[in-house]
């Protein structure tokens, strides 16, 4: 299973709609970094609206891909984290520190625009 990465102008847009097993998560990490490199993308929105569970492993993969993207010079915004997911992440003690978030896709794109274009 591969997660589709869409190009929207200067940005990359990913909406995670599948059950995130380990293999899919790692494949996504690689695919996204390669796309950033190919397209020279400076902004990425990862939409998690359909994700109903994030465990510590998946949290680590997501946190890592944000750090890796930052290293390459791209900004990532996570959007649409469900209430139940936010609650379990905090209770688990998993903090997605220094990760930009926004309520939904639209606001995520706005956040990127402000960050990148001032």
């Amino acid at each position: 299973m591969r997660i589709p990465i869409l190009k929207l102008g200067k940005y990359l847009l990913i909406s995670i709609q599948v059950e995130l097993d380990d293999q899919t998560a790692i494949q996504f990490q690689e695919d996204l970094l390669n796309r950033i490199h190919q397209e020279g993308s400076q902004g990425i929105v990862i939409d998690l609206t359909s994700v109903d569970m994030i465990d510590s492993y998946i949290a680590k993969v997501i946190g890592d891909v944000v750090k890796m993207s930052n290293l390459m010079g791209a900004k990532v915004v996570l959007t649409g984290i469900q209430p139940a997911v936010a609650i379990t992440l905090v209770e688990m003690g998993v903090s997605l520190n220094e990760v930009h978030t926004a309520l939904d896709l639209e606001q995520g794109l706005e956040t990127l625009q402000q960050e990148l274009e001032g």
């Binding site: 380990d22 109903d52 569970m53 949290a59 209430p83 139940a84 379990t88 688990m92 003690g93």
Partner: protein
């Protein structure tokens, strides 16, 4: 009381099957959305530990009743290497695998009852319950 068939966790697909089975049963029992996520996350952590640290093991799911309380019991059972120092692994941030070390202490916080029995060389049984409120 109803016992679900246990889910084998030999591969990483077992992790997904176990947490899906858990969410389904949680829904049936009547847990709300947030508790379903807590239960699915806890199962995912326990199953991933089996996958990472043992050759194989199972996740057993069971509906339990005590007095007027109804709940869901989740047992993770393996015959792996066992855990030498349980106090260490229950600390936030302790990991032998470069993980976040959030798994076991996190599971304890997500659920209501948490019991761990482990014998070096003989395996580990982690027994947990989430009560319906």
């Amino acid at each position: 009381m109803r016992t679900q068939p246990s889910v084998e966790v030999g591969t990483e697909w077992g992790i997904v099957s176990a947490r899906q089975a858990g969410r389904e049963l949680a829904k049936e029992v009547g847990f709300n959305n947030v508790d379903q996520a807590r239960i699915a996350t806890a199962i995912s952590e326990l199953a991933r530990n089996i996958y990472l640290y043992t050759e194989n093991g199972v996740i057993e799911l069971e509906v339990v009743e005590k007095d007027a309380l109804k709940g869901m019991k989740i047992i993770a059972r393996d015959d792996g290497p066992g855990i030498e120092n349980i106090r260490d692994v229950m600390e936030d941030g302790y990991s032998s695998s470069g993980g976040l070390g959030a798994g076991l202490p996190g599971v304890k916080r997500l659920l209501d009852e948490f019991d761990i029995e482990s014998e070096l060389g003989n395996g580990t049984v982690i027994s947990t319950i989430k009560w319906l409120r």
